[in-house]
Symmetry: C2
Subunit: 203 residues, 2 copies
């Protein structure tokens, strides 16, 4: 793409183009859209970003994003404080909250063990999880990580670290999606859903 | 989508979700990506936007975006100052510049006549175009607008406004795209490319 007619525009476009999934053409479209707004609207956009970075906290207990030291989930007295669901990031927390099927606490790892990307167990919040399990009277840890090589590695690492504790460890079920046809499901998933079949009455 | 765990995050996500083609899920992904950057990087992002809005100028002659009063194209002595190419927005200027087939000047309308969207002739830079044609010794005006109802309306309006001037008016050619197969071209385009056929030697 050609040089833009303005250095200031160029800089703004480059900043947008550094975001994931946004190329230079889209970045230009977004910046030009913003430039059509009033100066106040653009400043409000810029300020929202800056404040988000400087003022958003992470919950000291579960590492979820929060405006307070302890997030609303951890400080909610109605939640089951004996269960921790381990997830990779805050989007996963929101996805599980959306199901309305889980009333326990979370632990956000902030990543997943991935030797290919240079992320080891010490780069994510595993130690603090082990500490929580040891001190906070946890009876079950649910591992809700992606069903990938990295997810399985992280599951394995955490299960090794927790093997001497009395905590019950579980992994979220893998199987065919609700509404899926068998013939379009891949073999590995279908195989897992046969191995992990559940008694009919529990469905 | 569920309420986010932080008001600050919510605000930043809402700002991003107001951009064209960006939904709340994508907005969240972008904001979380930004939050992983250093505070300096986020501030630089915010500042680039704010400065772009406050400091970018529009060329006084052609209304293209520019850091200076007169844009580099209008002030370039090597360009043909007797020809004006009329385009809708600055992306169109860049698209035509990329072809390296045009050495004249531009006139950026900043929109297109669209009664459906409440945009009339006075909302875009048509008067200043008429003034340029009358005063600046222009011999040809090339209308390079989209081949849509709005583009045709704008072409018609401009041609009416310029009919008493001595300027030569032309419209960019419509026909099948280079590399296209005839059988996959829509009838209107193919029809136009037959009506507007050109002598073989000019290709």
């Amino acid at each position: 793409m050609q040089q833009l007619p303005s250095q200031l525009l160029e800089k703004a476009v480059n900043e947008f183009a550094g975001l994931p999934g946004i190329g230079r053409k889209t970045a230009l479209r977004l910046v030009l859209h913003l430039l059509r707004n009033t100066p106040e609207q653009v400043d409000s956009f810029a300020e929202a970003l800056s404040r988000a970075k400087h003022e958003i906290k992470h919950c000291k207990t579960c590492h979820n994003i929060s405006d307070t030291e302890i997030c609303p989930i951890c400080s909610n007295p109605k939640r089951d404080t004996t269960t921790i669901c381990v997830v990779e990031n805050i989007q996963d927390v929101m996805a599980i909250e959306n199901t309305q099927q889980y009333a326990g606490l979370y632990h956000v790892l902030g990543g997943i063990i991935s030797p290919m990307n240079g992320i080891g167990p010490n780069d994510i919040e595993i130690d603090s999880l082990i500490k929580r399990v040891a001190c906070d009277g946890i009876s079950e840890v649910i591992l809700a990580l992606a069903s990938t090589m990295e997810g399985d590695t992280t599951n394995f690492y955490i299960s090794r670290k927790l093997k001497d504790s009395n905590v019950r460890l579980s992994v979220i079920a893998r199987g065919i999606s609700v509404g899926d046809e068998l013939e379009y499901t891949d073999e590995v998933t279908l195989g897992r859903s046969i191995i992990n079949r559940t008694p009919l009455e529990t469905i």
